[in-house]
Amino acid sequence: MGGVCSRKRGNQVNEEGVRVGVNRRYCKNGSSKWLLGTPFFRTTSGCQPEGVSCPTLMELCIHKICQDIDKYISFSVLPRDISQQIFDELVRSHCLNDVSLEAFRECALEDICLGDYPGVNDSWIDAISSQGSSLLSVDLSGSDVTDSGLALLKSCSNLQALAFNYCDHISESGLRHLSGLANLSSLSFKRSDAVTADSMRAFSSLVNLHELDLERCSGIHGGFAHLKGLKKLKTLNIRYCKCITDSDMEALSEFTNLRELQVSCSSITDAGVAYLKGLQNLILLNLEGCQLSASCLDSISALVALSYLNLSRCGLSDHGFDKLSGLQNLKVLNLAFNNITDACLIHLKGLSNLETLNLDSCRIGDDGLANLAGLLLLKNLELSDTEVRSTGLRFLSGLLNLESINLSFTLVTDSGLKKLSGLSSLKSLNLDARQITDVGLAALTSLTGLSHLDLFGAQITDSGTQYLRCFKNLQSLEICGGGLTDAGVKNIKDLTSLTLLNLSQNCSLTDKTLELLSGLTALVSLNVSNSRITNGGLQHLKPLKNMRSLTLESCKVTATEIRKLQSTALPNLVSFRPE
């Protein structure tokens, strides 16, 4: 059952997500992948024909090559952009190995993105480095590459971007091989023991470095002293580096070009933040999880260019928030999980450019919300686990740009929901609260633009599901309050945009439900755990070719039968339960 009921996952702010809009990439082809970590959902289509659109001859040829890759000895006669397309498709389809890689020797490829690709080790690097001065970006994250592999990349003098995240076989002394790559503008060594205060000297000659990512490196305390010459550094990520202390912030105070600084979950205090006062170009500051107090807000108030500020889980109280009222450029403010009350919100009243405000689990009530009524640009408002009640929602009814509201685990009741009915921009609404019923849902039928609706714990019955018919654009829906039967699912079967559907905990649902859902061919994730579904019902899922995740815990369903379904009908199914 585990995952079925845990609700608070994924509520943490995703810095990458928030940074959309800040223009980041300068390299040409698909190098952004390594910024996003390992994507759970890979894009599938590639050069496979999709729908009625006809594959180009180029796509057909590339597909053909991937099928018989071992027949090709060399692609070097091809123009570089064509061999790059073949290479990328081989990687995407997991058909590349150390042997087929040899065909790409001296093909003048620009991008070698093999992050998290299985089997990559030093034997691959010779062919990679044979791309020579053409090579612009290399991602070998998660590989077994060692120092000697790294040494081979020295000759690729035009390299602009390198990523060696989670490469456990690179040592401190390996980093010296990078010191000649003066064109590097982006360098990423997440969770690396190789990067230490001492070995960071190797970076001191990388004067064109714009972007440095040392997230989860545990030995870098003191290393920034060697990097004083990196005047172009704009983006620095040292999240989850417990070793980082206030003295490191003193070293960073020289990087006056910094635009983005992420120091969350480090050991810095108010004194450390004080060193950052001079970083007048800073647009993004992430201090999540650092133990701070009121005096840090005074320092932050000097950073007038800030448009993104994350202070969640910093142990802050209301004290000092008057200082933030001058940060007129703020668009995103995260104050979740702090000890703040309505008294703090008074100081946010004038932040008229705010688009996203996160107050998750703060001691906020209806009176505080009055201060938000004038924040007309607000798009995303997170009020989960606060003391907000129905009466407070009237302050939100004029925020016509609101696209997303989270009211889960608040004290809001049915009677308050009509205050939201005029928010026509709303796309995402979370009403995961036990006291919400069919009556509340009836008040929301005007929100026809909704694409995400979470009624996880709400008491929705079959009669309430009729209102769901108004939400034709719904992509995700969760109703897990226990009140649904197959009859209610009839009102869900025509919501053909749905990609995620969670109907778990509705114990009366039978195989009939799966039959009703068989037309929802866009579904990627389905959960009907804790129901009366049997192996016999699985056949109805065959048309759901896009399904990647299927959860049927505590049903009369066996893993063997799901596996059969997977092998015969659901090729995209990567995660299922029971397993």
């Binding site: 024909p49 009625v52 006809c54 594959p55 180009t56 001859l57 180029m58 057909l60 040829c61 590339i62 053909k64 090559i65 018989d68 027949k71 692609f75 006669v77 091809l78 123009p79 952009d81 064509i82």
Partner: protein
């Protein structure tokens, strides 16, 4: 079939392929040539020379054009490509933007 509705594609060896203009328009390059009057002499004559494309490859490309028309009208068959032609075919496809 009138002359205006067809185009003549000539390979490097001088072999001529007369195909429907509609089929030729599958190629973005030929579409541009044939639908911008006055800009290319090819438009007036309905003749396009490919000094860098061999007869074998040009034939395969013409086959693709017709296959593509069929595919778009709902007849989804497989288009066979001989492995020994792929590399040359790709270079031509790249040039023809198809």
């Amino acid at each position: 079939m009138t002359k205006e509705e067809t185009v003549k594609l000539i390979s490097s060896e001088g072999f001529e392929f007369v195909i429907d203009k509609k089929a030729a328009m599958v190629s973005q390059l030929l579409r541009n040539m044939l639908s911008s009057p006055g800009s290319f002499t090819e438009t007036a004559d309905g003749v396009v020379n490919f000094p860098d494309i061999s007869t074998t490859i040009l034939e395969k490309i013409c086959q693709y054009f017709y296959w593509s028309l069929q595919f778009s009208s709902g007849k989804e068959t497989e288009f066979h490509i001989e492995p020994e032609l792929t590399l040359e075919l790709m270079m031509a496809a790249n040039y023809l933007d198809t």
